[in-house]
Amino acid sequence: MTFYEVTFYVLAVVALLSAILVITCRNPVHSAIFLVLTLLSVALIFLQLQAEFMAAVQIIVYIGGIMVLFLFVIMLVNLDVAVRQAPYNRQRWIAGFAALVLLAEFTLFIYQGRDWAKLPPAAAEAVQPNTELIGRALFQNYILPFEVASLLLLVAMVGAVLMAKQR
């Protein structure tokens, strides 16, 4: 096994295991910690795929920003009630069934598409700095989505204010 494959499998296993722990932990703060671990291993998988910029942004925005918000929200709600409630309730059987269907679908599709998934051999050198590629794609080919993103951020800002003012 190559170094690349070893790191990939380690990261994938860590990501999956901690994702399972996120939903099985009783204590929401523990769940949040495992979510951090999941996000971190996904970021490292990005890094491994030469998406340096995405990896860094994943850590900065998701772990440094969104997880802080999650922890705040967890502290904002009454923890005692949350801990006493069972993590799964009546949807257990429906969820299990849906997951099985999804698994079957994915297996089928991956089996059907096994030939497409073969990637061309990687270039000997990194093609170009990742950030510049993203920058040029974003500001030349995808201007409209970019400007719409700012609209989205604006809506989020106004929404946050309205939600907070209602209390």
């Binding site: 170094f3 918000l69 502290m75 974003l138």
Partner: protein, 129 residues
Amino acid sequence: MNQNYLSSYVPILIYFLLAMGVAGAIMLLSWLIGPRKPTPTKLSPYECGMLPTGDAREPFSVKFYLVAILFILFDVEAMFLIVWAVVLRQLGMYGFIIMSIFLFLLMVGFVYEWKKGVLDWAPRQSRRG
């Protein structure tokens, strides 16, 4: 995968593992050699010598929550700006105009928050002093 790319990140991993090992070893060492004589008073949460009052994990002001949301929004904005800053030289005036529209929309939101008083943490009269 090419070697140059991954091997430039491996030293960070080494550094991280070293730091983790040292921190873990020191914590373990202090746990091993430190004395342990717990008494109920020693273990009770510190509250200036008073008896602890209620559970500490209580709800708090919604302001903190708002600050966290605003932080995420500005953080995302900053990430866009960083990409822009790297390629501005290639984009020139065009890139500047695009970013001006983006920033203008966000400044509208910021001014709205400001005028709504979301960013104020104290009543207006108590600001000075």
